[in-house]
């Protein structure tokens, strides 16, 4: 199968398949879960076939013209392939995990439909080369998030879901205004034809608004901790693996791959994102709700990815791309551990938990390993990404910002170890047995992967290197 059909399949198999899930669900619950896993597996497997093309570093464009410049364009280059692999893999893991997690909740058909649709539209977004179709998949994901956050249908949850949907929709619509401003200047929405064009500063501000709302950077981040009310698999899917990576990917695709940043923007963005990660880390230190801490921690780590990209030098970009992979694995692991703990103890406040390592050894160790990877301690993958981001920042001459980033890393170390000690060590306040086997095995796998990704970091770096050189081709 040539590259184009693989990519089209990667995008449309999950999207179209997701709508068949409720139909299969009518037949039997187990058939539906199996069908959902099958869809997840296919979506995870297909991008892997594209690795050789990614390593070759080439770029193939697939175009289908519609009316008024709104034509459907797919860019298949190392950046999009890398993102597709990362998000579909972690998404697939989460589908397996959710079999055990929600098998006794109601309206599960809708849950699986939305999760698979979520991953499918993520694939679409990652490959799309036309700004409007990028926005289209952006919003489909927003709808899925809204329905998933409100999964438990409680009044407070739905209110939080509405808040999340409105904030991201507001950001996205403002971004759309930016896209249209570019359209009126360059006459097209097609990224491939506009590489290197200079765009007005105001368009940059508008587009950044959308990215910051989707990737929860400080001024627009409060919806992410509030979305902690959703089932853990959703928060894992949202916070760790996929959703927050969209804003960052869009930044790379628009401001690195296509348009150089005009005016003072290259100076302003690093400051904003570093402040965002600092404030989020501070909030995580103060918070006591388990999932809210992890959510704030995601906001803080996303700041790093933005920081790496905003440096626009080789080290920064490689660091950020690696960060997306490593953070995806480690943070998904943390959230799924949190899911097991909350699922077992039915408590959300970390001060009420304690001594769980005795009854949940694997979850405890997995949580510790994943938090080491998030902090950036060597044998784990997280180290390389954070190291490269900071080295990239210093290489770009922003030593002050690098110092603040390191201070945030110290804060991260502090609150993650605080959480680990409060939840897993100390005397057992509410001992509870470990979750079902599928949940624990996924968590173990994620922790193991973070370690393996650290030791054999050379392999993911090959693809990342290809992606960076592909992006940097224009910046040089």
């Amino acid at each position: 199968m040539n590259i184009e059909t693989i990519t089209l399949l990667t995008v449309f198999v999950p999207i179209v398949g997701s709508f068949t899930i409720p139909l299969v669900g009518l037949a039997s619950k187990s058939a539906r879960s199996a069908w959902a896993i099958a869809l997840g597996a296919v979506t995870a497997a297909l991008p892997l076939l594209l690795i050789p093309t990614a390593l070759a570093g080439g770029e193939t464009i697939l175009r289908k013209a519609f009316v008024l410049g709104l034509d459907f364009v797919l860019i298949i280059d190392p950046l999009s392939i890398f993102m597709a692999i990362v998000s579909s893999f972690v998404g697939f893991l989460i589908i397996i995990y959710s079999i055990g997690y929600i098998h006794h909740e109601e309206n599960q058909n809708e849950y699986y439909l939305l999760v698979v649709l979520f991953i499918g539209s993520m694939m679409g977004l990652v490959f799309s080369g036309n700004l409007i179709f990028l926005y289209l998949f952006w919003e489909i994901i927003a709808i899925c998030c809204w329905r998933l956050i409100g999964f438990y249908r409680l009044k407070e949850h739905v209110r939080k879901a509405d808040k999340a949907f409105l904030v991201t929709f507001f950001g996205a619509v403002v971004m759309l205004l930016g896209f249209i401003q570019i359209y009126s200047k360059t006459g097209s929405f097609d990224l491939t034809t506009m590489r290197g064009a200079v765009i007005p500063g105001s368009a940059v501000l508008l587009i950044l608004f959308g990215m910051f709302s989707k990737s929860a950077t400080v001024p627009l981040h409060t919806w992410l901790p509030d979305a902690g009310v959703a089932p853990t698999t959703v928060t894992a899917l949202l916070h760790a693996a996929v959703l927050v990576k969209i804003g960052v990917y869009a930044y790379a695709r628009i401001f690195l791959y296509t348009f150089p940043l005009p005016g003072a923007w290259p100076k302003v963005i690093p400051i904003v994102v570093v402040v965002s990660s600092l404030v989020a880390a501070a909030a995580a230190t103060v918070e006591t709700d388990f999932k809210r801490i992890l959510a704030y921690s995601t906001v803080s780590q996303i700041g790093y990815i933005f920081l790496g990209f905003s440096m626009a030098n080789e080290a920064g970009i490689t660091g950020s791309l690696l960060f997306i992979l490593m953070h995806g694995l480690a943070k998904a692991g943390l959230f799924l551990c949190a899911g097991i703990v909350i699922h077992a103890t039915h408590k959300r406040d970390i001060r009420e938990m304690g001594g769980l390592i005795k009854t949940m050894p694997i979850t405890g160790v997995a949580f510790l390993l994943c938090s080491f990877s998030v902090i950036g301690i060597p044998p784990f993958g997280g180290f390389f990404s954070k190291f490269l981001v900071i080295m990239g920042t210093v290489k770009a001459g922003q030593v002050g910002i690098a110092a603040v980033a390191l201070f945030t890393a110290l804060l991260t170390m502090f609150y993650l170890l605080k959480v680990f000690s409060l939840v897993f060590l100390g005397e057992a306040k509410s001992p509870a047995p470990e979750g079902t086997r599928s949940m624990v095995s996924v968590v173990g796998l994620l922790a193991f992967l973070s370690l393996v990704a650290g030791i054999f970091v050379a392999y993911p770096t090959k693809i990342v290197q290809a992606a960076t050189t592909h992006i940097m081709w224009w910046l040089k």
Binding site: V286, F372, I375, P378, P379, V394, V399, L406, L410, M413
Partner: protein
């Protein structure tokens, strides 16, 4: 000796660590045998590599100048030998000491993993693998400390965060270096320390002295002394961390930044060294627990090494480096002897111990030799390296640092007199614990390492030409101006120089202080330090120090929490407030006002329509003009 043998010092201990972890706990002796065999093999490998001297292993890894590059040269070979030696002794020691421990699998795994990472850090020639191995030690440090008492987790976190802070500073330094020189390979970097490079130097220095355990990053060591297992104290703070820390400090001052004699940076180093010596030894003096006393000494001895290297004078540097290996030996010996005392009596409280010399002769003998060595008594290795450091301090032109070193020597000897007297030589104390096991000499695997170390102290002291010429002095080869000779062996042991005279005087003074304190304390050795403790001004400072006022970590945690609260309340909550309250409320209020206008009366609507017509007519009229 092909280049890939360089991989063996890293892979061998790593593989053994995995094997040790996989062997189930109930299988006795098999794990210990493998570990001992491996550490022996490691010593042989280290010596073989030492013989080869220069070997390089380069592997392209992640692009952009980041390669998995290992380089063996004289200095790293020497450190490898040291590390392998101590690993062997600790493994031998812990076969008995740690035999009953529930998490014995993890213990051996962490020990050998630390060995692998340490070897990797020493051999690494590119900053990325260097930091990869260097920071990896954090994980094993955390793991080993949690093996101790149940409440050890607090100290484990404390150690983790302090070392994490220092490693992050080091990364910043490395980043600046990379930005300035454009390369990451350590051997190719040498920068004149001015402008941003000064910041890089300071940051890297923090990384080095943080690992070595100097002020102000030392506070986790005394806590770990009580919480962590004693073999850990002998293994890490005493030996490994000192070797690695001072190795990095030496590489920074010699290779990377070429520190000049009178420069400001060398002054900074010397101040840190001197402060560490004096303050740590003052704290050590008043300790009531044997292990805490030894841990404070470990901190203060680092001060000597930093002072030595800080002088940037060849004799000072050689003295500092020699002191590094000497200190590793006798400090490890002292901790092991404390461990053997604990193994037998179950406690290390000075109050409860006494008169063990007769019952545990070999441990006592080992202890005395090492104690004399640390105090700098004449023929032993401590004297040799301290003299060199004194010479260096004087030669560097600032006498104040030499005086600080001497004050340190006084109190070191005084505190060891107190310790030795109360534990081994004084009368048997009445509240010593009911002897569970008949207190007799510890089994052979515990005593042998102590005696080996004591023997080494003596040989390195008496025959100091051997270690100096083979190990230490070649390190300075390329760094000294052509003319100067770097052979200090002739006057190493000379007693009749004014400096040696002063140091002997200090020892006598210390003896007098101990005797006075002993008599005043009613013949109880452990009260010997009370006069100093009760000294009017010192008393308050001591009390503060006891409740951790000067502790960087405790204050740091308070500051962190405060800052977090400020940021959280100051920025995060208002943003959320803006969304939750302001936007939603104004939206509803605006809608409320509008809906009031819809009263439902027909007349209002009609009035609106006519008003609308007039407005539009006026608008169009205006627009048409």
């Amino acid at each position: 000796m092909t280049p890939n043998t360089l991989l063996w010092p890293i892979l061998l201990p790593a593989i053994v660590a995995v094997i040790a972890f996989l062997i189930p706990t109930r299988v006795k002796w098999f794990r210990e045998a493998i570990c001992l065999g491996a550490s022996a093999a490691l010593i042989y490998l280290a010596f073989a590599l030492f013989a080869v001297k220069n070997l390089e292993f380069r592997l392209p890894w992640m692009g952009q100048g980041i390669g998995f590059e290992l380089r063996l040269f004289h200095f790293s070979a020497f450190i490898l030998v040291g590390l392998a030696g101590f690993l062997f002794l600790i493994t031998l020691y812990s076969t008995v000491k740690m035999s009953g421990h529930p998490r014995i699998r993890e213990y051996y795994a962490y020990v050998f993993l630390t060995a692998a990472l340490a070897n990797g850090a020493v051999l690494a020639d590119n900053f990325v693998p260097f930091v990869f191995f260097w920071e990896g030690l954090l994980v094993t440090l955390y793991g080993l400390i949690t093996l101790g008492r149940k409440e050890a987790n607090r100290t484990a976190v404390k150690a983790f965060i302090i070392n994490g802070l220092c490693d992050f500073c080091m990364i910043l330094g490395i980043g600046i270096l990379w930005a300035q020189t454009g390369t990451l390979t350590i051997s190719q970097i040498s920068v004149k320390p001015e402008g941003l490079a000064v910041v890089a130097f300071l940051m890297m220095m923090i990384g080095a002295i943080g690992k070595a355990g100097a002020m102000p990053f030392h506070t986790w060591i005394p806590d770990a002394a009580i919480d962590a297992p004693v073999t850990f104290m002998a293994f890490m703070p005493a030996a490994f961390e000192k070797l690695l820390g001072i190795y990095l400090l030496a590489r920074i001052t010699l290779d990377l930044f070429k520190l000049e004699k009178g420069s400001g940076l060398s002054l900074v180093l010397m101040i840190i060294g001197a402060a560490t010596i004096v303050l740590a030894v003052m704290m050590a003096l008043i300790q009531k627990d044997f292990k805490r006393l030894l841990s404070y000494h470990a901190v203060s001895q680092v001060g000597y090494m930093i002072l030595g290297i800080g002088t940037a004078v060849p004799i000072g540097i050689v003295g500092g480096l020699f002191h590094m290996i000497n200190h590793a030996m006798y400090k490890c010996g002292l901790f092991l002897s404390a461990g053997s005392v604990e193994y037998r009596t179950g406690t290390t409280e000075l109050k409860k111990l006494g008169g063990l010399a007769k019952v545990m002769p070999f441990t006592a003998a080992g202890f005395t030799v090492c104690a004399l060595a640390i105090s700098g008594v004449w023929p032993l290795n401590g004297f040799v390296s301290k003299e060199m450091i004194f010479h260096g301090a004087i030669e560097s032109g600032y006498v104040i640092f030499a005086i600080a070193a001497w004050v340190g020597a006084i109190f070191t000897f005084a505190s060891f007199l107190k310790a030795g007297h109360s534990v081994f030589f004084g009368p048997r104390s009445e509240e010593s614990p009911a002897a569970v096991k008949p207190i007799k000499e510890s089994p052979a695997p515990i005593v042998i390492p102590i005696l080996i170390l004591a023997l080494l102290c003596i040989t390195f002291g008496v025959a100091n030409k051997l270690p100096l010429t083979t190990f230490i002095q070649p390190i300075l080869e390329g760094h000294v101006e052509a003319g100067e000779s770097i052979d200090f062996t002739p006057h190493a042991l000379s007693l009749f120089t004014p400096i040696a005279g002063i140091s002997i005087l200090c020892l006598l003074l210390a003896f007098g202080l101990h005797a006075f304190g002993w008599k005043k304390g009613g013949k109880k050795a452990y009260l010997a330090s009370e006069p100093v403790h009760k000294f009017p001004v010192l008393h308050t400072i001591y009390d503060w120090a006891e409740n951790r006022v000067f502790d960087l970590y405790e204050q740091g945690v308070i500051v962190l929490n405060g800052l977090a609260m400020v940021l959280f309340k100051g920025i995060d909550r208002p943003i959320d407030f803006v969304y939750e309250k302001i936007i939603t409320k104004t939206g509803e209020a605006f809608a409320g006002v509008l809906s009031k206008a819809h009263t439902g009366h027909y007349a209002n609507y009609l009035a609106w329509c006519l008003g609308g017509l007039v407005a539009i007519a006026a608008l169009i009229n205006a627009l048409l003009k």
